[in-house]
Amino acid sequence: MQDLIQHLINGLGLGAIYALIALGYTMVYGVLQMINFAHSDVYMVGAFAAYYAARWFNLESMPGVVSFAILLLAAITGCALLGLLIERFAYRPLRNAPKLNILITAIGVSLLLEYSGQVIFGADPKVFPEVLNNTPLFEMAGVSFKLFDFLVIGVGLVAMAVLHFLIYHTKQGRAMRAVSVNPRVASILGVNVDRTIVFTFVLGSALAGVGSVLVGVKYPKIEPLMGMMIGLKAFVAAVLGGIGNIMGAVLGGLIMGLSEEMVVAYLSSTYRDAVAFGILILILIVRPSGLLGRNQTEKL
């Protein structure tokens, strides 16, 4: 029982991380109907931006909330800039190209970031600076509830709420929804389509930056290929919840995290990567629109 609760908490923490990254996938998919394969590598770059910021300001010697905030800021800035550049130079020239070409470009950008990362940052894993202590907050029935789990889950839920507000209750959000439904008509009605798409990319990438710092403090090993698997799983989470749907991404992320933790705990850790794809294949065959399909909620 004790173990089960511990696994549940761990699973939720893992799931919240998937959810944060899945939000980026789901937003870009909602607006452009494309899988931004490079999203997971934007996340990787965010982790390295925070790593270098920490070394630059020598943050490791003064752990605390301020340092954590600086790391977040660095990661968000780095990711947002990168998202901007990718959109501008890789995806915008192909805006009206066939879907297949865009997909291949996305894979190409992803590989480019991964291998450039290996050249620039080095292929060996680095240790993420320890700026926060994972203090146990309280203990209940022999299970310790730690700070990071709450932090990750809290940030995930807050991000979801903020995004929801942004998309359904602001002007910018309305523009995003309009572009999602029909970019041409939206541009006729005075929406700046390019700017809206850039905004979506920057927002999604910034979320990846937040996720990268949270993962960094929780699992302090970063390397240029760290985004590959987590990105795929986050994408699966987005599909599971119903791609283009904000709530769905978070729900999917939590389910993914829980199921992976359970498989590792009670079956075999070698199958942990197969679980994600098993879930994906099942969901696509049984219910391709995801758990919270499009019928109930509007796209994006």
Binding site: M34, I35, A90, P93, L94, A97, P98, K99, L100, N101, L103, I104, T105, I107, G108, V109, S110, L111, L112, E114, Y115, S116, Q118, V119, M228, L232, F235, V236, V239, S268, T270, Y271, D273, A274, A276, F277, G278, L280, I281, L284, I285, P288
Partner: protein, 352 residues
């Protein structure tokens, strides 16, 4: 009947004579790369049937190669193997077995997933590729994560006192498969039956309305593609003499996709050219690595993929084949010559 097998035999003969002549001047390193070109040609051709001709984006080609490779290697190392001509015959049988098992895997994967389109299909095939790899990782009798080492190479053949060295036998064997693959795909794709593939690619709904059973067509393309992928995997196993689940990662699938895209989706001759380029390119870039001190090859790869998509999204050949491109090139050249000649005669007339 005779005329139908004349072209493939001729192609096989020409390729082998060329390589035999080339073989006199080259060392083992170049010879191995020539063999890898043939493997990659098989890989690119088979993927082109699905990605190029049928328009279904598969990212799980490495998984089917793994099935073929592991099947063939299982037979060779665990069941029975003999040197000489008998060995070559056995390798052939085992390759076919590997291909058939890969085709079965392709059928099982394709049947549920080919109802999906575009991005989703890409992700699902990627997922199946990874699942095949994870399952292999957990199969202890196939070496698990350690893989299988010491796979026998293609044997040399003794005819009287004359010995054909392993490389020539291997090349003959591999190129036979490549020729079989190329001609069967060519005749399939450019036949009346093959129009259904193109129909599915161009407009699935219209094809369905014209009475093309789209799901069946897609699954057939997928199964045939998986068969040749399995054969390519078995060849690769013999040439590298070591396989492990890590040899068949997502990157191998991406590599196959790059070849198809570079050559042009829907161009078999383009795939052959692209496979050769992609195989030789990393080797040609080796001096660059020595100068800069870092491995820039994959960076250049990835950059090339993005740039191709932006600058020339149709790839080298588009969906045309070499003869057609050659003819149109000659026509434009002749036209240019004619106009130039006309201008010259005109200016000569006006000056006189």
């Amino acid at each position: 009947m005779r005329s139908k097998i004349r072209a493939p035999l001729l192609a096989l003969l020409i390729v082998n004579v060329l390589v035999m002549l080339l073989g006199f001047f080259t060392d083992a390193y170049v010879q191995l790369n020539i063999l890898f070109i043939v493997v990659n040609v098989l890989m690119a051709l088979s993927l082109n049937l699905v990605n190029g001709f049928t328009g279904q984006f598969s990212l799980g080609h490495a998984g089917f190669m793994a099935v073929g490779a592991y099947t063939a290697v299982f037979f060779v190392t665990k069941i029975y193997f003999a040197p000489g001509l008998l060995g070559l015959f056995l390798i052939g049988i085992y390759s076919i077995a590997g291909g058939l098992l890969a085709a079965l895997a392709g059928y099982l994967v394709g049947l549920p997933s080919l109802r999906l389109r575009g991005d989703y299909l890409a992700i699902v095939t990627l997922g199946f590729g990874e699942i095949i790899r994870v399952v292999l990782l957990n199969m202890e009798f196939l070496g698990g994560p350690r893989g299988i080492a010491g796979i026998p190479p293609i044997p040399s053949i003794q005819i009287g006192s004359f010995e054909i060295s392993s490389f020539y036998v291997a090349f003959f064997y591999a190129s036979s498969w490549a020729v079989v693959c190329f001609f069967s795909l060519w005749r399939l794709c450019y036949s009346q039956y093959g129009l259904s593939f193109l129909g599915v690619r161009e407009d699935e709904i219209a094809a369905e309305a014209m009475g093309v059973p789209t799901t069946k067509v897609k699954v057939r393309a997928f199964v045939l593609s998986s068969f040749f992928a399995g054969v390519a995997g078995s060849l690769m196993a013999h040439f590298t003499s070591y396989i492990s689940p890590a040899s068949f990662s997502f990157l191998l699938s991406v590599n196959a996709v790059i070849m198809v895209v570079l050559g042009g989706m829907g161009s078999l001759t383009g795939s052959i050219l692209a496979a050769a380029i992609i195989t030789v390119l990393p080797e040609a870039l080796r001096p660059l690595q020595e100068i800069t001190g870092v491995d820039l090859r994959m960076v250049i790869y990835a950059l090339a993929l993005v740039l191709i998509m932006i600058i020339r999204p149709t790839g080298l050949f588009g969906d045309r084949e070499w003869p057609e491109i050659w003819r149109s090139w000659k026509t434009t050249r002749n036209l240019k010559k004619q106009t130039a000649a006309q201008k010259q005669s005109q200016s000569a007339r006006s000056s006189s």
